[in-house]
């Protein structure tokens, strides 16, 4: 009798204290992330796999196959992570916390580069800096008589610059979301206590957004080490290989086991760095800034620096946003892909087919599948962004609630890894795992559901990282009071957590949406419908040698991404009414 009365409340406490949610999440992460990873691991434990491990780690090949690419990759990862924090952080501070002119405009420009594919930035770099090493027509500087040395035209330095130009907007998006929840009361308290501006910055603002900085650094680091286009375009001519180019090459030439071994090693190395950064964050006290009282943001007056800083921000925006878009736009108008600024025509956009141009192909807006493809793309992007954020919110919530515990560390590590798994291996693992019926569950092969599940898992890191950087700032008091008044978990999530964290969540959702809309590998392997998505249409054109059409589609994708981020912005303003100026 006594034992019963003891066990009953403890049982319900078990539920209430939230063991159910973590348990479900662990199961989901195990199925979505661990299972495909294990499958990839097992393929490297066959005889061919063991040989691949040996070739990569202990053979005459390993220097060129693993160590040198690793070194290049790590240099890239760290310099891009640092560069993105500096530029993204600077812009976020400028836009969110100061009275710089044209803040909306600057904010828009800063969020754009990530929506432009990284190859556009690499092409833009080539348009300016290309030297005579490859022959062909030289870049802008060489034609104007300025000799460009190889180190500036090719290799690590240009690759790092191009990747920073591409990924800083990711850092901006996350840091800006976190900064906007630094309440005015905190800053004013500092000011009243007589703290000078640097003191406030380093003593209050920086510590508060540290989780966001770590999140931004991790994601940009991962983005840089996994990026293929920039190191391939700018690195190969001087034989610079990174792990991503090596990995791509191994899979492309049929040496999958070696590719998987490289991927697993890359994951291990990155996980180590992530674990270290996690230690740094959880080792310090967490700062709670969203307390439910007053959500205004305090803006610092910049004084004489208003316009100079504005100019710097505009220059950054021009170089990283306007220039690549210009190059893309120009190359969608130029009949010759080698001379992008001459003989412009709108043929590739609206031209009628049947003529001499482009082997009689009509412009993209006359392509009957285009409208279909746009809708398919938006639908896919929205569904994946939604499911990813739902899952990410749950994960981030659990990780933040149990900060420092083994479970939180494990979940945050696992939720981060999918970004580093090559899409082709990820997709293949998903087909093999879920293509066959499992018990009573039907085969998911060829269903939209499988695509959504795989994509959600693949994009999970964005959702989790951006979610936890904002959730970490929300005071437990608010939730506690809600709990005391009897609000359940779901109620609390939707009435309290969601509105307060919406900026960070939408920031993550946008990142997922953009990635989904642009990413081809996962889609092409899992998609079976005949009406394609935009990235597949672009691939089709590019495969036929019509880069103009492909670039035009890329611009359409950019517009779709922009529209999505506008909608997200206005939605979050509607939810966070207290933020209205």
């Amino acid at each position: 009798m006594t034992s019963l009365s003891i066990s009953a409340p403890s049982g319900s406490r078990l539920l209430r204290s939230g063991f159910l949610l973590p348990a479900i999440l662990v199961a989901i992460v195990a199925i979505l992330v661990v299972a495909p990873l294990l499958r990839i691991l097992f393929t490297t434990l066959t005889p061919e796999g063991i040989a691949a491990w040996k070739a990569v780690l202990a053979s005459p090949l390993s220097a060129n196959l693993w160590w040198r690419p690793l070194l290049n990759t790590m240099i890239l990862g760290f310099s891009v992570g640092a560069g993105c924090l500096l530029i993204g952080g600077f812009l976020a501070w400028l836009v969110v916390l100061t009275d710089v002119p044209g803040r909306r405009f600057l904010g828009l420009m800063a969020s754009l580069p990530y929506m432009i594919p990284s190859f556009a930035a690499a092409l833009a770099w080539g348009t300016l800096f290309r030297n005579s090493r490859l022959g062909g027509s030289a870049g802008f500087f060489e034609t104007s008589g300025l000799a460009i040395p190889d180190w500036l035209a090719w290799g690590l330095i240009p690759t790092a610059i191009v990747l920073i130009a591409h990924y800083y907007s990711l850092a901006y998006t996350i840091i800006a979301a976190a900064l906007s929840s630094v309440g005015a009361d905190l800053v004013e308290a500092g000011q009243m206590a007589g703290a000078k501006r640097p003191r406030i910055f380093f003593g209050i603002i920086l510590p508060v957004v540290t989780p966001a900085l770590i999140a931004a650094a991790s994601l940009t680091f991962a983005g840089a080490v996994a990026n293929f286009a920039a190191p391939a375009l700018l690195g190969l001519p001087v034989r610079m290989q990174t792990l991503s180019t090596r990995l791509f090459g191994m899979i492309e030439t049929g040496q999958n086991e070696r590719g998987f071994v490289l991927a697993l090693l890359l994951i291990a190395v990155s996980a180590l760095f992530l674990w270290l950064s996690d230690r740094i964050v959880s080792g310090r006290k967490a700062f709670i800034t969203v307390t439910g009282k007053g959500g205004r943001t305090k803006r610092f007056p910049l004084g004489a620096w208003r316009w100079p800083l504005f100019a710097i921000a505009v220059i950054i925006g021009f170089l990283t946003t306007v220039l690549p878009v210009l190059v893309l736009a120009a190359s969608s108008l130029a009949p010759q892909s080698g001379a992008v600024f001459s003989n412009w025509t709108l043929h590739f956009w609206i031209g009628e087919g049947g003529g001499e141009m482009a082997q009689g192909q009509a412009g993209i807006f006359r392509n009957p599948v285009l409208i279909d493809a746009i809708w398919n793309t938006i639908r896919l992007g929205l569904v994946v962004a939604f499911t990813t954020m739902l899952l990410g919110l749950g994960l981030a919530y659990t990780i933040v609630q149990r900060r420092g515990s083994l479970l939180a560390t494990l979940l945050s590590q696992l939720a981060f890894l999918p970004l580093l798994v090559p899409s082709i291996a990820f997709a293949a693992a998903y087909i093999a795992l879920f293509g066959a019926p499992i018990g009573p569950l039907p085969s998911l092969y060829g269903t939209f559901a499988l695509l959504v599940i795989a994509a959600s898992a693949h994009n999970l890191p964005f959702a989790v990282q951006s979610g936890r950087s904002v959730l970490g700032q929300i005071s437990a008091d608010i939730e506690e009071s809600a709990r005391l008044t009897g609000a359940g978990l779901i109620r609390r999530l939707f009435a309290i957590i969601f509105p307060l964290a919406i900026r960070g969540l939408f920031a993550g959702a946008i990142l997922v949406f953009v990635k989904m809309v642009r990413d081809l590998s996962l889609v092409v392997l899992l998609f079976t419908a005949t009406s394609p998505v935009l990235s597949m249409v672009a691939y089709r054109y590019a495969a036929e040698g019509f880069l103009q059409f492909a670039n035009a589609i890329t611009l359409v994708i950019l517009v779709v991404c922009l529209a999505a981020s506008f909608v997200a912005h206005s939605l979050q303003n509607r939810v966070q009414k207290w933020k209205a100026p």
């Binding site: 490859l134 062909g136 190969l236 180019t245 482009a358 997709a427 293949a428 693992a429 092409v524």
Partner: protein, 373 residues
């Protein structure tokens, strides 16, 4: 109940012969395949070329009632997808139109994931080497290309060994062979012809070649010397064509590219031309193959489609082949005429790869290249 049993028995009577039919299908003419294919209703094809869209239209017009579902995917992705699907017991695709034959040979054919099928209608018009181990529909190239505007007197290179000399230092381009299978196949083919490479060396330098101890044959020595002479690697053929072909270039490099890209010369402002008179060869011809997936859900329609894609009896090959009939690519079917502006297949000084042999030698060359970078 009885009715159900009878109908089940009846169904079994019909189903049984249809089970044994798949192999018998190989001998049927298109006319005999058609009603069976129409009963199947559709056919799914993975295609390396997006021109499958044109085939879809033509096929559905010729054979109404059969829905062609074409998905364009690179060869690598096709292989990954077919492997993963069959591991899960899914048999959804019927036909693969695919290159990268050395990998197809080891991963798909030896793994019994695909079966070779030769349409009886065209069997007599194909050389034996195009019928096995895989059915070749056409041949593409990776050959030495030069700029005909900058070198109006013809190719500046007449012997591959010239490319290892100071004159061509840093002036030979190639898509990174550790990134792209066709270029790896090209270097493998060079390594597979050590005697010809040695003879070409002697013809050029006037003395016998000395091969370094850890290398096998003159072909591998050539690969090593080529890399040592600052061979420039590029990520894709687009970069290569622009660099080699630019009409305004004064002293352009040469590069191993695709002959058929020459058709874009006018559109892109290029002056790409093939260097054909090169000792011992200027590159490789490699096959694009058509093959039926194991346990294809629509076996008759699959065979009908493969038959269709070999074209009709006209010199252009008609609607079934025309989308693929570009100058610089070569149909294997003898009745289809090659483009008048391009070098005839018989005159082309390129080696044709043998998927099985290449597959066996490729790993060693892949390793060699990695150590050379």
């Amino acid at each position: 109940m009885l009715k159900k049993l009878t109908s089940a028995a009846l169904a079994a009577c019909f189903a049984l012969p249809s089970l044994t039919m798949a192999s018998d299908l190989d001998g049927l003419t298109p006319q005999q395949l058609l009603p069976l294919a129409q009963k199947e209703g559709s056919v799914t094809v993975f295609s390396l070329s997006s021109r499958i869209a044109k085939i879809e239209k033509a096929f559905e017009e010729t054979y109404p009632g059969i829905d062609l579902i074409g998905l364009d995917m690179s060869s690598t992705k096709q292989i990954a997808r077919v492997e993963a699907e069959q591991q899960a017991g899914v048999h959804a695709v019927d036909v693969l139109y695919i290159a990268d034959t050395p990998v197809v040979f080891t991963k798909l054919l030896e793994g019994k994931r695909i079966v070779n099928y030769v349409p009886p209608r065209v069997a007599n018009e194909l050389e034996d080497r195009y019928k096995a181990p895989l059915l070749t529909q056409r041949l593409s190239t990776k050959v030495l290309m030069y700029n005909e505007k900058a070198f109006p007197d013809g190719s500046p290179v007449s012997n591959l060994w010239q490319l290892t000399q100071p004159e061509w230092q840093g002036r030979v381009l190639m898509v990174d062979p550790s990134q792209r299978g066709e270029l790896l196949d090209l270097l493998t083919e060079i390594a597979l012809h050590p005697d010809e490479m040695a003879a070409a060396y002697k013809a050029h330098f006037g003395k016998d070649i000395e091969v370094e101890g850890d290398l096998q044959g003159a072909g591998e020595q050539f690969i090593k010397d080529l890399f040592a002479n600052d061979l420039i690697l590029v990520p894709n053929s687009d970069v290569l064509n622009k660099s080699v072909g630019d009409v305004n270039a004064k002293s352009p490099p040469v590069g191993f590219g695709t002959y058929s890209d020459r058709r874009d010369n006018e559109k892109e402002g290029w002056a790409l031309q093939i260097a054909n008179n090169v000792e011992p060869a200027n590159g490789i011809l490699f096959p694009a193959v058509l093959t039926v997936a194991d346990k294809a859900p629509h076996p008759a329609a699959a065979r009908l489609l493969i038959d269709f894609m070999f074209g009709d009896d006209t010199p252009t090959g008609g609607a079934g082949f025309e989308p693929f009939n570009v100058p610089g690519d070569y149909a294997t079917r003898k009745t289809i005429a090659h483009h008048p502006d391009s070098v005839k297949l018989d005159d082309l000084k390129a080696w044709t790869i043998d998927p099985a042999k290449t597959a066996a030698a490729r790993g060693r060359i892949a390793d060699l290249i990695i150590t050379l970078q």
